[in-house]
Symmetry: C2
C-alpha cells in the first residue's frame, strides 16, 4: 500500500481546527506550521475565517485546488460525514485522529466507517491515534504540543506504535537522548492501514534503517507473519508486545480494541521472522540506537576496555551471561606493542583491558588503536568513567574517529551532568552510548544474533 501522502503530501487539509489552543485540531494545525512544513496547509472549520493569518475554509469542498492528505479531528459522530466530503474532493489519504470507536465498544460506527473507506479505496491511518510525523519532510501531524513533546532530529529510526501515549513518551525521551528519527506512526485502531501495511511501506522507505514496533494485537496474523518475515530479513525490526498476560490482554480491549491473542503465538512469529524482541521499552530504545548506528558486526569476540576495574568485571559477567558472546584474546604481537607504548605496571593487559583510574585520553587512544587493528577483536565495549580528572574532552574526537573505521565501539559511561554532556557529544557523532554496561552487552548480543542469521 502506497502511504507516501501521509509523509510527503504537498497539500494538507486539517478538518476541525479551532481557535482554542487546548483543542486537538488547533494543536495539529500549529504543529504543522511550527515544524516549518513547506507544503500548503488548509485549516477547515465552518466558524473560522483564518488562523495565524492563514485562510480557513468552511468545508473541504471550498478548498481550491488539490488536497493530497486530509487530517480529521472532529467528534466521532461527525467523522463519517467528513470522510464522505473528503471522498467527493477525491482525497484518498486520510488520517483520522478521532477516538470513540471500537475501543469503547462503538463497533457499529467503526464498521460503517470501514465499509465506506474500503468501498472507495481510501487509505486511512487511525482511528483513535496520535498521528504521524515525517522528520525529514517536516510533516508534523501529532496532536501534542511541541513545547511538551520535543521532536527528535531527522535520522533513520522509524517508530510504529499502536498506542499513541506510549509513542509520545518514547518520542520525547528519544529527542532528549539525541536519537534521530525518520518517521513516527501511531496507527491506533488500524481501521484500514494496519501494522503490516506500514511495515511493508517502511521496507521500501530509503530513510528508514531500523523499525521499532509496539504492538498489542493484529487482526490478520498470516499477513503480519509473512510481512514481518520479509521486512526483518532486510531491515532490523525491534518489536515489543503489550498484553502478554491475561490481565494485560483484557486491558488491550478497552485501549485499541484489539484482541491481544496468544502470546506464545506472537513470540513464535517474532522469532521465526528474526525480529528483535524487546522485553521492555528501555530495551527497545537502546536496541534502536545500536541498530541505527552500527552497520554490521563481523563476529562475537568482544574486547572490554575500562578505566574502572569494577565496571570491567561486571561487564565481563554480562558478556558471559548473554551466551552468544565471547571475550576476545588480543593478538600477542599487538598486545606486546601496546604494553610497551603504555608502559605502566598497574595497567592490566587482559580482557578487560583495565587502563586504571589515572588513564588519560592518550592511553585510551593507544588502546583503541591497537584493538581496532586487531583481527581477534570483532567489537569493543569502551567504558569511560569521566569522573577522573585526566580524561580530557578530546576523547570525543578520539572515540568518534576510531568508530568511523567500522568496527563497532559501544561506549559506556555513568554519571551526572559532565558525563551527559560528553555522552551527548558522542551521540551527535553517531556513537552508541549507554548508561549501564549490561545494556551495551545486550545490544551487542542482539547485533550478533540478528546478523548471524543473515
Amino acid at each position: 500500500m502506497n502511504l507516501d501522502n501521509f509523509f510527503k503530501a504537498k497539500s494538507i487539509a486539517i478538518i476541525g481546527v479551532s481557535r482554542n489552543p487546548a483543542k486537538i485540531g488547533h494543536v495539529l494545525f500549529r504543529n504543522l506550521i511550527d515544524a516549518d512544513y513547506k507544503g500548503k496547509v488548509y485549516p477547515v472549520n465552518p466558524e473560522l475565517n483564518s488562523l495565524f493569518n492563514i485562510k480557513a475554509y468552511k468545508s473541504i469542498s471550498d478548498i481550491p485546488g488539490k488536497v493530497e492528505l486530509a487530517v480529521i479531528a472532529v467528534p466521532a459522530e461527525l467523522v463519517l460525514r467528513v470522510v464522505k466530503e473528503c471522498n467527493e474532493k477525491h482525497i484518498k489519504d486520510i488520517l483520522i485522529i478521532t477516538a470513540g470507536f471500537r475501543e469503547i465498544g462503538n463497533k457499529v460506527s467503526e464498521d460503517e466507517l470501514k465499509e465506506y473507506l474500503e468501498l472507495h479505496d481510501i487509505r486511512c491511518i487511525g482511528v483513535n491515534c496520535l498521528g504521524v510525523v515525517d522528520f525529514h519532510k517536516k510533516v508534523d501531524l501529532i496532536f501534542l504540543p511541541r513545547s511538551r513533546l520535543k521532536r527528535p532530529e531527522a535520522g533513520n529510526i522509524s517508530f510504529v506504535t499502536q498506542s499513541g501515549a506510549l509513542g509520545s513518551a518514547i518520542l520525547d525521551l528519544c529527542a532528549a537522548n539525541g536519537y534521530k528519527f525518520s518517521k513516527f506512526i501511531s496507527y491506533g485502531n488500524a481501521t484500514i492501514v494496519d501494522e503490516s501495511d506500514i511495515l511493508e511501506y517502511l521496507l521500501k522507505d530509503k530513510s528508514t534503517k531500523v523499525i521499532c514496533l509496539y504492538l498489542e494485537g493484529v487482526k490478520d496474523g498470516e499477513k503480519f507473519f509473512s510481512t514481518l518475515k520479509k521486512v526483518a530479513r532486510k531491515k532490523p525490526v525491534i518489536v515489543m508486545k503489550g498484553g502478554i498476560s491475561e490481565e494485560g490482554k483484557t486491558a488491550t480491549k478497552s485501549h485499541t480494541g484489539s484482541l491481544a491473542g496468544k502470546s506464545e503465538v506472537y513470540f513464535g512469529i517474532f522469532k521465526q521472522a528474526n525480529a528483535i524482541i524487546a522485553d521492555s521499552l528501555e530495551q527497545m530504545l537502546y536496541y534502536a540506537s545500536t541498530f541505527s548506528n552500527v552497520n554490521k558486526i563481523r563476529g562475537n569476540k568482544i574486547q572490554i576496555i575500562t578505566n574502572g576495574g569494577g565496571y570491567g568485571i561486571i561487564t565481563t559477567d554480562n558478556v558471559i551471561a548473554v551466551g552468544n558472546l565471547i571475550l576476545a584474546r588480543m593478538n600477542e604481537k599487538i598486545k606486546n606493542k601496546l604494553k610497551k607504548e603504555i608502559n605502566n605496571n598497574l595497567v592490566s593487559f587482559g580482557n578487560p583491558l583495565d587502563l586504571i583510574g589515572d588513564a588519560d585520553t592518550e592511553r585510551y587512544r593507544k588502546s583503541l588503536d591497537a584493538c581496532v587493528k586487531d583481527n581477534n577483536i570483532d567489537a569493543i565495549i569502551l567504558i569511560v568513567l569521566y569522573q577522573t580528572p585526566l580524561i580530557t574532552t578530546d576523547i570525543i574526537e578520539v572515540i568518534s574517529g576510531y568508530r568511523r573505521l567500522g568496527k563497532p565501539i559501544l561506549v559506556v559511561s555513568t554519571g551526572g551532568n559532565f558525563t551527559r554532556v560528553l555522552r551527548d557529544a558522542l551521540v551527535d557523532e553517531g556513537v552508541c552510548t549507554f548508561e549501564f554496561p549490561e545494556h551495551a552487552v545486550k545490544a551487542l548480543s542482539e547485533l550478533v544474533r540478528y546478523y548471524d542469521i543473515e
Copy 2:
C-alpha cells in the same frame, strides 16, 4: 568496630598533599575544604609550607594537638613508614588511599602493613581505595574533583563499595538523579576494615536507612554471613556481586586482589540473609531510591493508574510477570463514587485505571484520593505522561500530598526535559520516580518480598 572517626573526626591530617592540582593528595585536601568541613585540617608534606592559606606540616609529628584521622596518599613504598609515624602520634584511624599492593601481586608489602596495623590495633580503611564521605558531617575524603563528580545531598542511603571507580560513577549519577546519601565508603583491598565491619557499623548508624553494597569477594565468609543476616534483618541491604562468571573472577584478582569465590555460595548467603539482590547497577539504584523513600508496604495488591493505555498494559504485564504481586480490585462503593466524580465514558475504571489522554490534574487527584482510601489497594503505580497539555505542574503537590498519607505511590514518567523537571521536583519531595514501568514493578516486588519476611 567503631568507625566513628572515619566519618565524624574533628581533626584530619592528610599526608601527601601536593601543590600540583593533578595529584591525589591535593584533590583530597581541596575537597575537604570545599565541602565546608568544620573540623581541623592538617596538610602534611615535607616540601610545603602552606596551601590555600592553611599551614602545612613537614611531618605528622610536627602537628600540634590531637589528630583523630589520618589520610595517606603517598607512594606505596612509603606507606608503612607513614603509618608508623601516625602510630607514634597515637592516631588509631587511618584511611589509606594508596594503590600498588596485593592487587598487583605485591602481597608481601600488604602483609607486612597488615601485620603492623593489627599489632598496634589501628583501624584502617583501604589500601587501594577511593576514600570515604559523610554527607551529613561534610567529611569529603574521596580523591575525585567535585567539579567532575558531583556529590549527592545528605540523606539516608549508604553505599559501600569494593570498587572505587564504580562507586564514583554511581555517586555522580545519584547526585544528578537527586538521591540523598548518608555515607560513601570505598574499602578497596580491605586490609583491615572489611565489608562486614562496615555493615556492622552502619547497622547502628542512625542516619543510614538503606545500605548498598558492591562486592567482589570476601575473605571471611562466616563473618560476612552472620553480619549480613543480622544487618539485613533491621535494614534493607541491597547487594550486587561482581565476578560471577569464571572470567569475571579472574578479573577481580587484578582489581582488588580478592578471590571472588563460588557465586552459588554468595547467592545462597544473600538469599538466606534476606538481602536484596541487584542484578545490575541500574537495579541497585532504583531499589535504593525505593527503600530510601518507602517505609513499609502492607500487602501485594497493586493499583495501576495511567493516562496512557499502552503504559497501563505493559505495566500490567510486568505486575503479573514478577510473580509476587497481584492486581488490586477496587472497592465497588469507592469505584462507583469515583465514576460519578470523573463522569467520562472514555475512562476505563478497571485495573489499570485508564484516565486517558485528556486527563487533567484534577482527574488524577480524584483517582488518588479514591485509591489511597481504598483498603483493597496496598500500593499505587501512578503513570503520568507529561506530554499531554492538560496536566498542570500542580500535580507535583497533589502526588506528594497523597504520598505523605503513607501508602506507597510509585510514579512512572518517561520523556524529555519537561518530564525531568517535574520528576526532579517529585524526587525533592521524597517521591519514588521511575523512567520505565518495569523498574517500578520490580521495586515493588522487592519491597513486598523484603517486608513479608520480617
